[in-house]
């Protein structure tokens, strides 16, 4: 089946690698470097590090979420669309609840979180559907 706007299957592992590699980098730097230093500007150490790690997680999740399955067919495509819709709904509910029930929180943090929650909800819902289908298919045989 022809699919558009999807990465090849191996991007899933690339995405997972990006996500996993960022964890030790994050732990190492936050232990040995002062992240709250006074340096500012677009090319300052803390900012570059922040952008680097944030992009690594985002791109990692993005690749993982939107790479092809081993067998792409119309049913998988439908599950993907449904999951995307659910993820958007859920994300907005969480976003609205966060806005209502939090005080004095920095909007930047909400923005950061929101950057990942949509992708995470999508990944969880989509993978859960696939696992459930595999279970019921394996019961048959």
């Amino acid at each position: 089946m022809k699919t558009r706007f999807l990465f090849p299957n191996w991007f899933r592992y690339l995405g997972l690698a990006c996500f996993l590699v960022h964890i030790p980098i994050m732990l190492f730097f936050s232990k040995y470097h002062d992240m709250d230093s006074k340096a500012s500007g677009l090319l300052s150490g803390p900012h570059v590090f922040f952008i680097f790690t944030t992009l690594m997680v985002t791109v990692g999740l993005f690749f993982f979420a939107f790479s092809k399955e081993k067998v792409e067919d119309e049913h998988i495509m439908q599950l993907r669309r449904d999951s995307l819709q659910w993820a958007v709904y859920f994300n907005y509910v969480v976003l609205i609840i966060t806005l209502i029930f939090t005080e004095h929180i920095e909007m930047g943090h909400i923005l950061m979180l929101n950057m990942w929650t949509l992708l995470l909800f999508f990944i969880f819902r989509f993978q859960w559907c696939i696992i459930r289908n595999n279970w019921s298919a394996n019961k048959e045989v």
Binding site: M1, V71, D73
Partner: protein, 66 residues
Amino acid sequence: MKNNIRVERAIKNITQAELAEAVSVSRQTINTIESNKYVPSTILALKIAKVFGKTVEEIFLLEKED
């Protein structure tokens, strides 16, 4: 919509995996169609009917609520 793919498979003596391969979808998809969880596209319905050498109406049947 219901279907009698399971019966047709038994007559032709082929597994879900073999049918899946013949119409180039995953075995899971055939399983969800058989258990009425997923309604296939017209293209897939025609392909499945072709494998069994029958018309689409003989394999896929409308129900009252459709």
